[in-house]
Structures are given as C-alpha cells and as structure tokens.
C-alpha cells in the first residue's frame, strides 16, 4: 500500500464516483425501467413461456433454460462457439507434448476417495443436464459440474491415467467439434425445412408459432404404455449437446494447462 501512487487512488475514487453518478441519473431519467408496454419484461417471459396457448411458448416449466435456448438461442450459440474457438486456438498455440505422469498430491487416501467420488459426480452432472428443461440447471451447469470428475483424476493420478480412461486430447476435440456442429444443425433444421417447403421459419425456432410460422419441433412424445415424455422440443436436445461441448471443453482446457505448466519444470 505504501508504494501505490496517489494517482491510482485518485483513479479508484473517480471511477466509484462516476459509477454512482451514472446510476443516479439513469434511474432518475427512467432509462433502466424494464417494461414492455405496460407489463414488466420479466413478467412477460414468466407468463408466456409455460403457457401453451401463448404464441411465444416453449412448453417448458423452466423459464431460464427456455430463454437461453429458445428466445435467445442465437446468443447462446455464439457464446458456445466463442468458447470453442478459444480452446481450439490455445490448442494450436500450445502443442500437446509429453509430460511426466506422476502426481505430487497422491497418497493412498485421495486415490480411494477419487475412485469413489468419480461416479457420484458424473451421475449428478448428467442428471442436472438431462432434466434441465424441467428443473434449474442445463447444459452449461451440468457440463461445468462434470469437469470436476476428470480434474480429480488429473490431480490425483496424473495425465497418463486420464488418457487411459479415454479422455485423450484428440477424442475431446472430436467430441467438442461434433457437439458444436450438431447444435448448428439442430438450430437450422427448421429453417432449412421451411425454405424447402416455402413456409416462413426462424433460426433456432422451437415450437410452431401461429400466424408466423406453422412448423416446429414436437413438445412431447406419447410412450407406448400411455405416459407422456415431455422434452420441450429443442430444449432437451440442445441441453445434451451443450453438456457434451462444455464438459469436453473444460476438460480439454485443464489438460492443456496441466501439460503446458507441468512440462516447464
């Protein structure tokens, strides 16, 4: 704190003052009031998404996942592909060389516990991702929980053991590329069908919209024994694909960082 100049503290104070002033004027000028017509924007989504008679429905009780993958699907696709491009670029720059296989935190206790905890974490993450259209959670959350399990193996057993388990860099890159490609296919298939048959359709469209576009994905299938399996159109498919993309992406990032920083010693 001694050597920090007066100029930096002045900058800190000035930025805080600027933030307070901006917030005050934005609230006074009513710029940040989030209303659409007379209904607040959040209420609009909360009413429209679970209601099957609304034109903007997703047939899903979970509003956040629907907004992420249906109403704002295009944004989410770009987020996924930005992460994809970043990881591919780092992979290109780093170049996976050889590293030593041993690990420094490995006594017998972590080895046993890692073997016990690996299936538990995988089960939890898959369950979070698979019913992401019914409960909170979804592809990104499930994928980032899944990344704990290979990371545990990486820390305890080293990279050799992880590669023996099937988490090789080539396989991870392949799975990730395939998932991102399939997200594109699932998002654009309605548009392609609409173009071929001469019906208007949207990119990343989920349910058919009356008066705008009559085609779309089905919301549920009737099982042979009479039950209904609700998968909310694209939501469940995209959740599973996003789960694959995010989990393999984070695992790949951790493997790369382990190789790059571990190989320097």
């Amino acid at each position: 704190m001694r050597s920090r100049g007066a100029l930096e503290e002045l900058g800190l104070v000035l930025s805080i003052l600027l933030g307070v002033l901006l917030t005050y004027y934005l609230v006074r000028a009513d710029v940040v009031s989030l209303t659409y017509g007379n209904i607040p924007l959040a209420n609009l989504y909360l009413r429209a998404v679970p209601d099957p008679s609304s034109p903007f429905t997703s047939r899903s009780p979970e509003v956040v996942t629907s907004v992420i993958w249906d109403q704002r699907g295009y944004d989410t696709y770009f987020e996924t592909s930005v992460l994809f491009i970043a990881i591919i670029g780092v992979l290109y720059l780093a170049g996976l060389g050889g590293g030593q296989g041993n690990s420094s935190v490995s006594t017998v206790i972590p080895r046993v516990i890692a073997k016990i905890l690996f299936p538990v974490i995988v089960a939890v993450s898959v369950s979070v991702a698979l019913h992401g259209h019914l409960t909170p959670g979804g592809g990104f959350q499930g994928g980032s929980i899944f990344a704990v399990a290979p990371f545990l193996y990486l820390l305890v057993f080293g990279r050799r053991m992880l590669e023996g388990k099937g988490f090789r860099a080539n396989a991870l890159v392949f799975a990730r590329s395939l998932a991102v490609f399939l997200i594109t296919v699932v998002g654009s298939i309605v548009l392609v069908v609409g173009l071929l048959t001469g019906v208007p359709a949207f990119l990343f469209q989920n349910q058919p919209k009356p008066q705008l576009s009559p085609i779309g994905y089905p919301a549920y299938v009737v099982l042979p024994w009479g039950g209904i399996f609700l998968f909310s159109g694209t939501l469940m498919i995209l959740n599973v694909l996003e789960f694959t993309a995010v989990s393999t992406g984070f695992t790949l990032a951790l493997v790369i960082i382990d190789t790059v920083t571990g190989g320097r010693e």
Binding site: L117, V120, I121, V124, P136, G137, V148, L152, L155
Partner: protein, 93 residues
C-alpha cells in the same frame, strides 16, 4: 405427519446460529494469517453454506434452490487439491 408451521420454531434459531458461524468463518477467511488457514476456513464455510442453502430452500418451500448444494460439496475437495499441488510443486523448484 407433522404440521409444517412447527418449523417456525426451529428454523430461525438454527439459521441464526449457522449464520453467526458463517460470519465468523468469513472473517477468518479474509484475515487468516497463512494460506492453508484460509483454505481450511473456506472448506468449513462451504459446508456451512450447504446447510444454509437447504434451510433457505425449506424456508421458501421451493426445492429447486437446493440443487446448488451438490456442486458446492464436490468443489471443496478440488480447491484443497489444487492449492496443495501448488504448494508442493513450488517448494520443489
């Protein structure tokens, strides 16, 4: 079956004591003289937070809030491992 209104006698007391423990732990995490102290306090604070999440979920009667407890419980171990690996490998150099 027990009437849920009986919870109003139990939950505020338990949540208050856990909140007090949580605040003491958070002060220890920010103050703790060495790095292992901070990580250890972070672990115990995380365990406290799991219970606080579940109590909040019970308070609001919305089970969807409870799902955050499981990733939190699985990340405790990882932070310990990463910090331990860092400390051991930096000493080796």
């Amino acid at each position: 079956m027990v009437d849920p209104s009986l919870l109003n006698y139990v939950l505020p007391v338990v949540l208050g004591v856990y909140g007090l423990a949580y605040s003491i732990y958070s002060i220890v995490v920010l103050r703790g003289p060495t790095v292992p102290d901070m990580v250890l306090a972070l672990d115990v604070m995380t365990v406290d937070l799991i219970i606080i999440y579940l109590l909040i979920a019970l308070y609001y009667e919305s089970p969807m809030l409870a799902i955050g407890a499981i990733p939190l419980a699985s990340w405790i171990l990882l932070l310990d491992f990463v910090v331990a690996k860092y400390l051991l490998e930096v000493r080796k150099k």
